[in-house]
Amino acid sequence: MSAPLLRFAHVTYRHAGALAATLVDVTLEVSPGEVVALAGAPGAGATTFLLVAGGFAPRLIGGTLEGTLHSAVAWPGIVFAAPWTQLTGLCQTVLAEVAFGPAGLGLPRAAVRAAAEHALERLGVLHLAPRDPATLSGGELQRVIVAAVLAQEPDLLLLDDPAAELDPAGADALYALLPDVAAAGAAVLVATPDTERAARVATRAVRLDGGRVVADGAPAAVLTDTPAARIARAAGCPAPLPLDADALVARVAR
């Protein structure tokens, strides 16, 4: 068990100009190798949690943070739902866009190129390397953005509804990557309404309600509102409930 990467101790965070706190008395730890699914209704604080975890709030967006956050994170990566606003706007080709992060480290050219191409390959979009980002579809662009973030080898990967623009196959492929990223030593936090897909890859789940942590544990215990789980519950299946369609089928077939 490695030392925790992040330690929240009674963290309360209020956005600049907001009347109420978005995160209230949050206490938990995140260690490398974990894939943590963040569940909660819109406005429950999941996105804000990601921003605070990555050290983006209050540094870049203001606001007040109470409590203590111990962070050993060297380089956080963050992926949002809409791809367009995440482009640097400086790069004429997909390869340059993905290489932007590694290029900022002053690494030799060959290493930068290799990192970019490797990341593009992981997302299955190496063939888009010479294309102009402005000509890509939303789904293709989102995959390029994820590649760009992965090319930097972040030790904390934050994702906010990352598959919103992707088709089902693309979404499956994206979530399937997360355990690999964690296996390489990073911690992965993914906030998403797509609890079924998150449940397939998460090692842990945290539910937020009104900014407070109301559940924190195994996905099977926390993510009990996936469509499959709801069906299973209604049918009277005993705990632990199956969380996704495959598990439901497997349970019923027994």
Binding site: H15, A16, G17, A18, L60, I61, G62, G89
Partner: protein, 186 residues
């Protein structure tokens, strides 16, 4: 200059370059090509607004191919600094203060543009201003007067409306967005 400042400046420049599209659709005889600069002045500050104005000047030349506008960079500086001063005095809180302030800027910027047009191009730059200049000259006015009058008349309307629009934008900003810009004195 923080990353946030850069992103806002970029937005201001883009607004300067794009808003002409809307104005053209409404067939109004103005450009509003400094609205972004004025917005940046109110949201960030004078240095950022000057940068926005100068960048807009360069990019407008690049996009339209008409590099003759480059010497008018000084006018952008005047607009940026004035707009910042106006914002600090809370001019953008009400339309009743914003519109007259815009009128005054129109006089200032038109007055600054005129000598540039006169010395650099002998009173002739592309477009409507030169036409007005020519007509006035043909009517017998001395060149310097003709140039100044032409610059002023388009600028007065343009800057008044620009200030009015920026006032409306700032008042319509939702609370959480406004909180991101410490320069806004609410």
């Amino acid at each position: 200059m923080t990353l946030r400042d850069l992103v806002v400046i970029r937005l201001g420049v883009a607004v300067n370059l794009v808003i002409g599209q809307i104005v053209a659709a409404l067939l109004l005889p103005i450009f509003l090509d400094a609205m972004g600069t004025i917005l940046v002045a109110a949201l960030v500050g004078p240095r950022a607004a000057i940068l926005a104005g100068l960048t807009s000047q360069v990019l407008a030349a690049v996009l339209s191919g008409n590099f003759a506008w480059l010497p008018f960079a000084l006018v952008q500086v005047v607009i940026a600094v004035y707009a910042w001063g106006a914002a600090r005095r809370g001019v953008f809180r009400r339309l009743s203060t914003a519109l007259p302030a815009g009128l005054l800027l129109g006089a200032l910027s038109g007055g600054t543009a005129a000598p540039i047009a006169y010395f650099v191009f002998g009173g002739a730059t592309a477009g409507g201003v030169t036409l007005v200049t020519t007509v006035l000259r043909a009517a017998g006015l001395p060149l310097s007067v003709a140039v100044t009058t032409a610059s002023l008349s388009t600028d007065l309307l343009d800057k008044t409306i620009a200030f009015g629009l920026v006032c409306l934008v700032l008042r319509a900003l939702p609370r959480h967005l406004a909180a991101r810009f410490p320069a806004l004195t609410r």
